[in-house]
Symmetry: C2
């Protein structure tokens, strides 16, 4: 079984974006704020948006199941206040839940949170609980920078985030640390802000001692861990200078990297440097990079090929990356699969 | 000949830091602002600070010449106003110049600029001209984020930066794109801010068309290019989606990466993915990571060993990385060396 642990609903029907634009207009002019009930998307529209896109590519490429969360760049937590984020998160999470109900063998939902800059993270807990208990979500996406590129929140090791972590531990769900769109002109969203956030989150964890307080907390750092694996020697050296334990002990019982690295040499490095138990298959398909690599003739984001092409990996390692590690980290997914006899 | 294109004066006598602290105190209380003449560092003190540190390690490791600029984390352009930065840059540049005069075979200077957040970059030109004309500087360090982690300046492709680029082209000097200390708690200086800035600068260039306006402009992106080589497929794919030319044509006649990547697999990836002509030897010694790698028994930042250990590199490629490329990119250095018959 091949599980893609990082997929977003980037192909939602246009009505969603239209409703969001009306909501954004409503921030300035309450008279045009739309009601939630004005957003109408039928099951057929959902089916079509998935069958023609993610599901088609999953079948072509041979992956079985995708952990599916709302479109990352559309979370845009910097827009409006908590109420705006709360309404928007509820809508997006419900859509991913409905997709998971329409395609129960192919999609399992992960939740976005109604974060808002300067608002206490614990305000996200009711949405988190609903998504886990009522919608069967197996993970959350946690945005370390709800400001969208201004980085005004405290580091992830700060106690302000602890209420979220307490709930994650209680439900044994991992968080993918994933920023949203950048509203800072310096940072291109998918080419800089995403990768910078990955590196930043990793280094925040290295600097702190978060996993002493939460030994079972699990963070998935997407996009192959940003710059971390490429600079693994730098990070090992910094840990040494800061008198931290070795990275294997300090971080690697709690931090995982996905395989959203879109060329063979990158995947070769990732799977050489990082312990196999910490690597989870993902493609972020359909996501940041949608074209075909002229050097290979295949989609850049068809990362399954790179795992298969990494010659040093044993069959056992590939199985761990494709399925075993993900079932271990996303324990609620594992329980759901076992209940289905899988 | 082995040229290290990225060294900072991180070991300057303590009097420098003491003077800087008095200057910082003087920002709030003008009555305690020190005079420049109150900073007294003798040639013997300079010699000692270099001989016991950088020069000792250069001899041990077998590199011949270092392009030497003021300590990056101490540039701290966010402190004070233009006058504060201007005085500080002049002091730091003069010290690197004096080091180059004391050790003319081992050090050649590169200048920091008196940048200040929100101040027109063209105010840096007098210091730049002095450093090139009077001090024999062969390059500048350009900080894309003088705010120190708040990223309030426009992207490097913005016309606000063009006066600097015009001077760089006039003198045929490259700029190393190097931020300074982070005053944003989210970003660890050497573990996140530096690497993020490298990735950000690369992506800014990818998004824009700067090198159409300045076909001979040269940017050195340090720390192995941040996350760029590891995610080279992502960047090739993004260029394709943005209808930009191939990276080789769009950026790689103008952008260079150094080899400050502190483990063998990282250097192997860098030298596999990036054209050899775009890779310049550097160690950033004595810099961010000062310890010994327990896995190898050698200093993390002894990057010469990794170039020598990259089995796929030919003797010709190693020569290009160690000397040839650097003499081509730093043409004023090449002219200085040729004038000495080297």
């Amino acid at each position: 079984m091949i599980i893609d642990c990082h997929g977003h609903y980037t192909t939602a029907p246009k009505a969603l974006e239209d409703w969001r634009n009306r909501q954004i207009a409503g921030i300035k002019d309450a008279s045009v704020m739309p009601k939630v009930s004005e957003l109408q998307i039928s099951d057929d529209e959902l089916r079509e948006s998935i069958e023609a896109n993610q599901l088609k590519l999953m079948r072509e490429r041979g992956s079985d199941l995708t952990i599916f969360s709302p479109r990352a760049s559309f979370m845009a937590h910097h827009i409006g206040d908590f109420n705006v984020s709360s309404t928007w998160a509820a809508i997006c999470n419900e859509l991913c839940y409905r997709v998971s109900q329409l395609f129960p063998d192919s999609f399992v939902p992960a939740a976005m949170l109604p974060q808002s800059p300067g608002v206490d993270p614990k305000t996200c807990i009711p949405e988190l609980e609903k998504c886990v208990k009522e919608y069967g979500n197996v993970a959350i996406n946690l945005n370390p920078d709800p400001s969208g590129g201004h980085w005004t929140s405290p580091p992830l090791t700060n106690r302000a985030w602890y209420p979220i972590y307490e709930k994650m531990v209680e439900y044994d769900i991992p968080a993918m640390i994933h920023v949203s769109t950048s509203c800072n002109a310096c940072f291109h969203t998918t080419g800089a802000h995403y990768l910078n956030a990955d590196t930043t989150a990793f280094m925040q964890c290295l600097e702190g001692d978060l996993f002493k307080d939460f030994p079972t907390l699990k963070f998935l750092i997407p996009h192959g861990g940003g710059a971390a694996p490429y600079h693994w020697g730098r990070f090992r050296g910094l840990a040494d200078m800061m008198k931290k334990p070795k990275l294997d002990d300090h971080l690697m019982n709690n931090i995982y990297f996905d395989t959203c690295v879109y060329h063979q040499p990158g995947i070769d490095l990732l799977t050489t440097v990082i312990p196999i138990k910490n690597i989870l298959f993902a493609s972020e398909m359909i996501g940041a990079v949608r074209g075909i690599d002229p050097y290979t003739g295949h989609y850049f984001d068809d990362t399954k090929r790179y795992i298969e092409g990494a010659k040093h990996l044993s069959a056992e390692s590939r199985h761990a990356i494709f399925e075993g590690n993900t079932r271990r980290v996303f324990s609620r997914l594992d329980a759901q699969l076992k209940a289905k006899g899988k």
